[in-house]
Amino acid sequence: MATQVISANRLGDGLVVYMTDGSGWSERIADAHAVTDKEAGEAAMAAARAAEVARLVVEPYLIDIDESGGERRPTRYRELIRAKGPTVRPDIGKQAEL
């Protein structure tokens, strides 16, 4: 199974966030809690759904990531854009803060 992390949008401002160790949420994918097997993924999703009930995030889901090359990157292009910001506006979104 591919390495995965959980992403969602934060309820209050809608920004893209990732679930960290200890069920916190970070705007940086580098901080995300990674899982590598199905059971760990299900446990993480249970925690994410609890965070949804607790009104922290909206619609959490697992995304595949690639950690080769030393940098954690989503494998799907759509998720890469979510992780960084619009490709046409490098001055805004997370990419502007890196």
């Binding site: 401002d13 759509r78 619009p86 046409v88």
Partner: protein, 551 residues
């Protein structure tokens, strides 16, 4: 312009209060996302890739300088300093916070704006010819009809939960600038031999995954019957439209499934029951609404202004802008000035808060404080004295708003695509940017002539690719962005749907493909023949041959 009365204002103010409470309940955990989502969508609030997105209604694309300044203020205070004008003549903010939504809606309500019916399976914001009340070729002002329909359809209890969304466009000119034939209902205002006004009513047009050109269900509907007739159409749709499959739920599918004849029979049967009833607008009320759209106080001027002519002779850049971006006005001595939101390498439809304020100020000074948004993602100053055009152009230029490319290859429609939209399969905006950079040479653009490129990042076709002279549809091929190319589409009075020319091309090859197509056209055209006319004459084969010869 139409101004709210106490009923309009009260309705919008009530909605602000309601949504304020709904947001509070959501944040307090009294509403789940599942419960809240339909409520936020009824207020134009989506959750997109990066953040929430708010779609603000600009009824039939008409707004005042005062309203534009408010949009600029919201962009600056609550968003990231810009907004995006859409193919529905609306404005989208890409980064609003849910927590601040009640404040944003309250600010909009201060200037008689809102986000009602910009989402959901209801009658959406009515669109119209952006040259309404100004065009030299106009039979009647479509804004009056659009406003009547707006009032009738706003929170209409019977039509708030239709099988699917419903879009109505109105034009009052024989030259269709509102894409009437690819809307759920297209209304074309006409006059008969006696001078009476009526409508050609077109139903069942649309784009998306099943593009169709609408069928005329009434050649000349007398003006007084407008509301009862479209109510009959909506009733037939509401009763017989499919609700089991969202991809087959638009009225176009119903019209196609029943056949035009049976559909018209059902509409007429329904109409017989309600025509001449209270549904239709009393003449007095129609006149009251029409009075809001009385022409502004034009000065009596000569048909051709000498100063305008002189500046065109003396300043080639101004002459170029005037040639492409200025359209004839019905009032002698006035013209319509188009503001391109497609600078070289820019994002189609985007405007910064500073640009919005600049447009507001220019409109205030030179165009009776009136601004229009076009479905091609540009802005319009509808009533400019010819004598003022040079000043207008200079001021626009100082804000990067004077690109002389209206209708040319760089005047591209592009949906937000995968840079913003959660539905998209591929990006649209960077392709538009790359095409405009490749064809940056304005001389070359003018030589190619009228050429409408339209790009959608998914099959929902917000970028109107089916009706682009050149259409690009983004598809996902095993995680890679590919683009299907269609040729020969058009959204004007001779509407046609583009034909797929061959296999999709990769992102990196799209701009080269566009250049191959334009080069092929230039080689095939006869004197003065446009791209579309050439394509209609020769068909797709010559383009297919050159485009795929090397592959």
């Amino acid at each position: 312009m139409y101004l709210y009365d106490a009923i309009d204002q009260s309705l919008v103010d009530q909605r602000v209060e309601q949504f304020h409470d709904q947001v509070r309940r959501r944040m307090a955990g009294e509403l789940t996302e599942e419960q809240f989502k339909p409520l936020r969508l009824m207020n134009g609030l989506y959750l997109q890739l990066h953040a929430y997105m708010l779609r603000v209604a600009i009824p039939y694309g008409t707004m005042s300088s005062h309203q534009m300044r408010k949009l600029a203020h919201i962009a600056r205070r609550y968003d990231k300093g810009y907004g995006h004008f859409t193919t529905r003549q609306n404005l989208q903010f890409n980064w609003p916070k849910l927590e601040e939504m009640p404040d944003i809606l309250a600010e909009l309500a201060e200037v008689q704006m809102h986000a009602l019916q910009t989402s959901g399976n209801c009658i959406r914001n009515v669109t119209a010819d952006q040259y309404a009340g100004a065009a030299a070729d106009e039979v009647a002002d479509p804004r009056i009809t659009a406003e009547v329909v707006r009032q009738w359809s706003t929170l209409h209890p019977e039509f708030s939960f239709l099988p699917r969304k419903f879009k109505i466009a109105v034009t009052g000119s024989p030259r269709d600038r509102a894409a009437a034939r690819v809307h759920d209902i297209g209304l074309i205002i006409k006059s008969d031999e006696a001078g009476a006004m009526g409508y050609q009513v077109i139903v069942g047009g649309g784009l998306g995954r099943t593009p169709m050109i609408g069928v005329t269900v009434h050649d000349f509907l007398p003006k007084r019957h407008l509301l009862s007739y479209i109510e009959a159409i909506l009733r037939v749709y509401n009763q017989a439209g499919r609700r089991d499959n969202m991809y087959k739920a638009r009225i176009k599918i119903l019209v196609h499934a029943l056949g035009a004849e049976e559909f018209i029979r059902r509409v007429n049967a329904e109409w017989e029951a309600i025509r001449d009833s209270a549904v239709d607008l009393p003449a007095g009320e129609h006149d009251r609404i029409a009075a809001f759209f009385a022409p502004p106080r034009f000065e009596p001027l000569a048909k051709h202004d000498a100063l305008f002519a002189r500046y065109r002779l003396e300043d080639r850049e101004f002459a170029q802008w005037a040639r492409t971006n200025v359209a004839p006005h019905k009032q002698p001595g006035y013209d319509i000035a188009n503001i391109s939101l497609k600078p070289e390498g820019g994002i189609p439809g985007d405007a910064t808060a500073e640009q919005m304020n600049a447009v507001a100020a220019i409109a205030e000074r030179f165009s009776f404080s009136e601004i229009r948004v076009t479905h091609e993602q540009n802005l319009v100053l509808p009533h400019v004295r010819q004598a003022d055009l040079y000043d207008v152009w200079q001021t626009l230029r100082s804000h990067d708003l004077a690109t002389p490319n209206l209708g040319l290859i760089s005047d591209i429609i592009a949906c937000p695509g995968m840079d913003y939209c959660s539905l998209a399969n591929a990006r649209s905006i960077p392709l538009a940017q790359d095409i405009s950079k490749r064809f940056a040479d304005l001389k070359q653009q003018h030589d190619i002539g009228e050429l409408k490129v339209k790009i959608s990042g998914c099959i929902n076709a917000c970028g109107h690719h089916h009706v682009g002279h050149i259409g690009l549809l983004g598809v996902d091929r095993k995680g890679e962005e590919y683009y299907q190319i269609t040729l020969g589409g058009s959204a004007d009075e001779n509407t046609s749907l583009g034909e797929i020319i061959g296999p999709a091309v990769s992102y990196d090859n799209v701009v080269d493909a566009i250049e191959t197509i334009t080069t092929t056209y230039v080689g095939l055209r006869t004197d003065g023949e446009s791209f579309l006319d050439t394509y209609r004459r020769v068909g797709k084969e010559p383009f297919k041959e050159t485009l795929y010869a090397a592959h």
